[in-house]
Amino acid sequence: MGNIEMGFDLHMDLVQLLSPSGEISKAASKSAKDIERLVRFYRAMTRTRIFDNKAISLQRTGQLGTFASALGQEAIGVGAAAAMEERDVLVPSYRDHAAQFYRGMAMSECLLYWGGDERGSDFKNARSDFPNCVPVATQAPQAVGAAYALMARKEDRVVVTFIGDGGTSNGAFYEALNMAGVWKTPVVFIINNNGWAISTPRELESAAETLAQKAVAAGIEGRQVDGNDVIAVHEVVRRAIDKARSGGGPTLIEALTYRLGDHTTADDASRYRDPEVVRAQWTREPIARLRAYLVSEGAWSKEQEAELHKECAEEVDREVAAYLNASPLNCDAMFEHLYAKLPDTLQWQREEARRFAQRSANGNGNGHV
């Protein structure tokens, strides 16, 4: 496919700065190779992975609800979040805790959310970030609206939003791109293309050669980046954010990665995909790749690795304890934040909920058959 009139190249070049074996590209700028920053990325990705392991084991032992891990996809969240300013706004999907942690979400908040407790979405930090979004693609137009608001209010802030490869099949995604293009809102769309939408492979989602090229029809810039290369993700997102911040409008970035785990803990991927393919993908994963580079630069040692794992494990343990020891929810929570002020007509319903909650607490049988 060649250039079209608008000056976009439909066949976008994949941006990669760090090869799967950890060699840095000549194209990498000096700042992209900033070792201090790369160590920060490495620590953040490792922290997310250790958290994911723990969350899955909590689910397996009945201490957490269904959970969606970011295994193998840590570079996208970390690279993107690191390119954002604190004041910017994240509009996530439901698999974006790598980015959320980087932006200050507590692990205990993430656990509360997946543990079935709304308090997990009341973030202590990054208070304008949107909560997780489960109805796929519905977040995309919201991100455009949020960006419009920031633009209208002349705030020097941009919006970054995530969506999965499956999500790009949904009408709301196209509508969002289109509106963002018309209004030139300061928003960066990042597609986490992990190859799968539950059991549906990328090729059954779209006949388009790339998902990045969906930008073309909306008249906005599209980029494709190796999503397992945190250096490239950071570079590409940083540029898109700079552009958005300076009034240049939206960008769509397709980050290519692979879902190394099950879709969620409720899924069994062995039903629909070949474990050999998954094994092969492990040679491309983002953490080992960056480690290889850091080690080759003499910037990372076995001792530092051990120390980092210990630190992360301790943090995870503290956060799990905070989650498990969270004050019990009572039935009032259902009514508390429904409206700014609970309408009088709902007061009796809250009373009734209290009356029956009391009974079940007294062991009088809340008998679910």
Partner: protein, 326 residues
Amino acid sequence: MSEITLVEAVNLALARAMSEDKDVLLLGEDIGVNGGVFRATNGLQARFGRERVIDTPLAEGGIAGVAVGMAAMGLKPVAEIQFSGFIYPAIDQIINHASRMRNRTRGRLTCPMVLRSPCGAGIHAPEHHSESPEAMFAHMPGLRVVAPSSPARAYGLLLASVRDPDPVIFLEPTRLYRLFRQEVEDDGVELPLDACFILREGADATVVTWGAMVPETLAAAEKLEEEGVMIEVIDVATLKPLDVETILRSVEKTGRCVIVHEAPRTAGFGAEVAAEIAERALYSLLAPIKRVTGYDVVVPLAKLEKQYIPSVDRIIDGVRQVMEAS
């Protein structure tokens, strides 16, 4: 004959419908190789091929719209919406087209499609996976709305839904998918789509319910029997068109009525049942009608869902209230 679960009965009915009618096809997200996230379509793609069991892109509005087009052109699509929390974009196609294709074209084009979707809370699912949207569909002219509550009724009602010449919304309570087994004969015999089922007879009070709340209501009936109160339990099964006569006959006999549903109270389908009784059997009532429903709140995440779903205790309390009045 073998004992099967409700979700297996759905599978059995789909297989039956597909083998008896080549125009029946299935579409939805993850329904093929994966057999659906609840396994309702397990094995059907292997058996009937990828052209008749289609893994669609992730697009609920598209799925419903495609089904409308297929149905108008002679196929009999059975579309799955993975969870009813994601059904809303499909509603545009359902209310603006599926439900009125026949009417708009004076019968020239029709829309014999089924939209299946799991619904309800109680399985510790994530956000937006626990909705009970039946009243929204019941409000739309031109649709049938069905809510099975047992393996046998799921089998017979789904077969009837697929064979029906008009669009049917088929809401499957996830809580009941694997709750119990029942003997279901794969005999291709359908159940009527215009009848309520009396699951238990009783002279003291009528309790009208459907879908996920049926087992709780039956459990309440057993406990009440120990107190000497005999309730008649009616499973509405097909909410639209509603078999009002069966409900009225029961209320005329008992003089008391409790309506139980999981969806929020305001403008829930219970309001419709209550209104029919008030209009047509008011003088038979010995006590005001009582509704026991979900509260008018957003269905909470897992930690509080038990507090939200009407409990056996709340149902018993509701029955006692109508027994004590007058």
